[in-house]
Amino acid sequence: MLKLPIYLDNNATTPMDPRVLEAMTPYFLEHFGNAASRNHPFGWEAEEAVDYAREQVAKLVGADPKEIIFTSGATEGDNLAIKGVYEMYASKGNHIITATTEHKAVLDTCKHIEKTGGEVTYLQVKRDGLIDLKELEAAIKPTTILIAIMYANNEIGTVQPIRQITAIAKKHGVLFFTDAVQAVGKIPVDVIKDGIDLMAFTAHKMYGPKGIGALYVRRKNPRVKVTAQMDGGGHERGMRSGTLNVPGIVGFGKACELCRLEMEADTKRVSILRDKLETELMKLEEAYINGSTEHRLPHVTNISFKHVEGEGLLMGFNKNIALSSGSACTSASLEPSYVLKALGLGDDLAHSSLRFGLGRFTNEEQIDYTVKAISETVLKLRDMSPLWEMYKEGIDLDSIEWAAH
């Protein structure tokens, strides 16, 4: 039996795996201790649980447990990494390199740094969403202290060439930070093999709870340090003060373990469903996939349906299917997605896009239903679209002088 609504917005957040909740429950109730309480069994239990979870988290990404700093999520991880490096390495330089398609938590942190006297280079991306490695290398200066490039993009799923980027960073003695929120738990990420110095990720994008994330901070070759952004009890090796969120950490650990054990099978199954969804939807006229299809997360696709507006499209089925659009109308700003615009898409295509994020609990029945619902709505709205009519009459829409408002 198909259960509605269908959830296809797994890039925004994932549902919790029931096994994660099960692991967490005792740490809300009988094992409620503070992991920093050194003198009684409640504290010891909590500390033991945190240590175990730290190992589970570290193992998923090939890190040493000591290199995992628990945070409240990836926004905090992004802030701590970028601001922390900027302050810690101030004597070395003040220049950071990032890209225009980064998450707001990275871009706005960089803007903050610019206000305090730092210098930031924002690399453009190519039509496929990937950065140009030559441009990256050319942007490095003697004052460059950090390169911050996301592992995989949240809107289009494009996976950056991380190993090539870190090779360039290493060659020039520059630290490399990655926001790997969308990648960890979905595709193999290994901080050693990938050559990553700092990496932010979060539990709620990988079937764990919200409000808990981690920053990986390398301890060897080189030993990396970040200046704490919050003052307090000096938890997490002095880099992140605050009583540890023990149930959250336990859940995060369990979520990481499940991803490590099941990623390969999950990816295989989900990528088949994603490909089916994409193939079926691309049968519609004037449909375009946004971003690289070669270097891409296996569970993500972003498609523009020309001459149909994204929010209007979502309205046709959003009681039954949960999706996001790059359309302006779904955001408060009335600006269409800056990520899609960075690819060089016209505003019209950016307004017409849908983002699909499949996940562990997506099944074929849901995909079949989605294909049917979206196809029907696109056709219905095109019948209602003056742009579609003009396109069909062979009128060049660019030749019309639109009264922009």
Partner: protein, 139 residues
């Protein structure tokens, strides 16, 4: 963001979707908005020359549910009205009838602009001067 029932109703069962013969002298066409802004409305009216009454109205809209609902509602309101009556339709009428939230007020402005543009197109076609409207304030 939840839509009002009236917006959902117009979106689900839009009234008067279609195309009138834009080369006909009795048809006025208003095309407003821009693809880059995410909404384009085309509103057409067919006017009985003798009485100045709007006999038929059709729309096609590229845009969100509120833009579609506003244009559908506009065609309903226009049918059977005189040109002079049609000119009194104000964007706030759409906001009230459809219960549009502040972020969707631009849809109502677009609908008002589309009505005015269609009327002016009809006037110019029939040898009358286009009416100069003040710039709408809420854009």
């Amino acid at each position: 963001m939840a839509y009002s029932e009236k917006v959902i109703d117009h979106y689900t069962n839009p009234k008067n979707v279609g195309t009138l013969d834009k080369s006909s002298k009795s048809v006025g066409t208003g095309l407003v908005g821009a693809p880059e802004c995410g909404d384009v409305m085309r509103l057409q009216i067919e006017v009985d020359e003798a009485t100045g009454m709007i006999m038929d109205a059709k729309f096609k809209t590229f845009g969100c549910g509120s833009a579609i609902a506003s244009s559908s509602l506009a065609t309903e309101w226009l049918k059977g009205k005189s040109i002079d009556e049609a000119l009194t339709v104000d964007n706030m009428d759409f906001v009230e009838e459809l219960n549009l939230p502040p972020v969707k007020i631009h849809c109502s402005v677009l609908a008002e602009d589309a009505i005015k543009a269609a009327i002016n197109d009809y006037r110019v076609k029939n040898g009358k001067e286009a009416i100069k409207f003040e710039e709408s304030v809420v854009h």
